[in-house]
Symmetry: C2
Subunit: 185 residues, 2 copies
């Protein structure tokens, strides 16, 4: 903190702003809307400034992946730590993080962008694979219903992402309850 104090422009803040705008553009305009010009302009930085933080476009997308994956891991770990019951802990955390009960919180929009990014750039799918490999809980020694629940959550996620006509709030609540009931315990 000492080195960032009183600095006119905090590079870390610029970097975060850049990543946030990248995610937003990815969601709203699609992958084709993510150009270096558009990102830099949206983030309130010049193109050169953007390229100072990320040497090229691939590095930008990689940076987005890193950031979002890390925040996703953190959110999962947080939820799991708060769950006293060991069994099905991961599945419940997965539900809580991916299936927003009361509206969309901060950061979740970004995770949607992550999906868009992975589908857009085949290169990132490779990174997804190694990420999954790094998470023992995801590897499928889990009980069948745990898998089922996680896949259902992913499906809801995709549906929300595509903006398809969604469930009513009442349905969402009931679905959440059902998902938790199906989780191992």
């Amino acid at each position: 903190m000492s080195n960032s104090r009183n600095r006119r422009k905090h590079p870390e803040a610029v970097r975060r702003e850049v990543l946030a705008e990248t995610a937003r553009l990815l969601l709203e305009k699609g992958p084709a809307g993510v150009t270096l010009d558009a990102v830099s302009q949206a983030a309130g930085v010049s193109k050169g400034g953007l390229l100072h933080h990320f040497p090229n476009k691939l590095a930008l997308l990689d940076g987005l992946f890193d950031d979002l994956a890390h925040r996703f891991d953190q959110a999962l770990a947080e939820r799991m730590a708060a769950d006293p019951v060991e069994k099905g802990r991961f599945t419940r955390a997965y539900i809580a993080v991916c299936f927003p009960a009361g509206g969309v919180a901060e950061g979740e929009e970004g995770w949607k962008a992550l999906t868009v990014a992975m589908i857009s750039e085949p290169h990132l799918r490779e990174r997804l694979r190694s990420w999954v490999d790094g998470r023992a809980e995801v590897r499928a020694e889990a009980p069948l219903d745990a898998l089922l629940v996680r896949y259902a959550v992913d499906g809801i996620w995709l549906s929300d992402l595509l903006g398809a006509p969604s469930m009513t709030p009442a349905q969402r609540a009931a679905m959440m309850e059902r998902l938790i009931a199906l989780s191992p315990s």
Copy 2:
């Protein structure tokens, strides 16, 4: 000389070839790989010839959407007609069509491409919405478990699409059974 491919004479064949190659490129190279040059070359037609069938790139993607949505509808209807039990018919057909039990059949690769296209081009999401609106079965008056099953199928679909480490064949079979068991009956 009689060309191995369609030299001329069958515009419909050219059109289908173009759409097939568009879908393939979309899956393999991602949205950025779908250029008019790449599509025309892959389909064995000149750029001018491609633009004769589809006046611009948007029309090409729209054409792909139309084609795949239509084939998806047909596959669903086929499956539903073959199901003697009325209750849960739609859900079971949805499972059968979207969750390939024995390998990937023809056309299913294309449906994956459809997902990629919709995620890439925000414009197509609008079309998805109206498509869903046109299908009474999808509108969510369905029982909770029917929704759950469909979302789970979508999740598996997404997972396959991203090439994430998937289930073992045995797990897939068990999952299929479980999904059908959860379907309304």
